[in-house]
């Protein structure tokens, strides 16, 4: 295996049923776009369905999971399939910590949802920094 640089895998829940799922996706994407050298997206459905590349990465690099609800699918699936994540974030807990209400729509977020996306993205970025420091 020819692993070259330290990176963190970010696993977002797909959360189709709840607005926090979309919030998860957007916040994770924001961090991935702003920290391309340090973060890699792990596609959760592919990870679950047996994607060789997703699973190999998660076995060899630390992962941060971000879940939209207390069922914690991303954290549980990651632990089941490759090992305990380095950090497991919960969107409801992050919103509570920042005194923010969850979005009330499933899609097409706008200015009204920006604060929530930013807060979750910041917490993910903080977790990335912590994990990279530990590596």
């Amino acid at each position: 295996m020819d692993i070259q640089v330290a990176k963190v895998g970010v696993v977002s829940c797909s959360g189709e049923e709840i607005p926090e799922g979309t919030l998860c996706r957007l916040a994770c994407r924001k961090v991935l776009d702003e920290r391309p050298g340090e973060t890699v997206t792990i596609c959760l459905p592919l990870f679950i369905a047996g994607g060789e590349e997703e699973r190999t990465f998660a076995q060899n690099y630390p992962t941060i999971t971000v879940d939209g609800c207390d069922k914690m699918c991303a954290a549980k699936a990651t632990e089941m399939l490759s090992g305990k994540p380095a950090r497991s974030l919960s969107v409801p807990e992050i919103l509570k910590k920042h005194g923010l209400k969850p979005p009330d729509k499933l899609r097409h977020f706008g200015a009204g949802e920006e604060a929530a996306v930013q807060a979750v993205a910041e917490e993910i970025a903080k977790a990335v920094d912590e994990v990279l420091e530990e590596e």
Binding site: G15, E16, E17, C43, G51, C73, A77, R107
Partner: protein, 138 residues
């Protein structure tokens, strides 16, 4: 005529990393929220993997339409692994191939042309939702 169903589950893969995952998700939402509200419903794909009883029951008791973002067919495979019945399986790229003028963009969420494409895709899939709900599955 087969059994009538109150609900038809539309399950996108929601793959993050490719635009067609986002297109699959947007198409499912169009069906659930606008085109066939009350009949089309969805659930979270990872809930099936962690054996959430409600999610598993949903896909076992109702016909399922899966929309996958790539040929790896994660949504279809996850439903089948949970013991659910995939009545129709689609790949989101098919809708782009049929409407080449609407090239979707965006990875976490599609942008404007993707939304237009999702609207068209949802209207095309509405017929399948109606047939499955009426027990007229072909």
């Amino acid at each position: 005529m087969g059994k009538k169903h109150k609900k038809v589950v539309v399950l996108p893969c929601s793959g993050i990393g490719k635009v067609f995952g986002a297109l699959a998700r947007e198409t499912a939402y169009e069906l659930v929220e606008r085109v066939r509200p009350g009949v089309a419903t969805t659930t979270c794909l990872p809930l099936l993997v962690i054996n959430d009883p409600e999610a598993v029951a949903k896909v076992k008791e109702n016909p399922v339409i899966t929309i996958d973002g790539c040929p790896k067919e994660c949504a279809r495979k996850s439903v089948e692994a949970a013991g659910g019945r995939v009545a129709k399986a689609h790949e989101a790229i098919k809708f782009y191939k049929e409407h080449k003028d609407l090239k979707p963009e965006g990875v976490a969420e599609v942008t404007e042309t993707g939304r237009k494409l999702a609207e068209i895709a949802a209207r095309e899939l509405a017929k399948e939702v109606d047939e499955l709900a009426a027990g007229e599955e072909k």
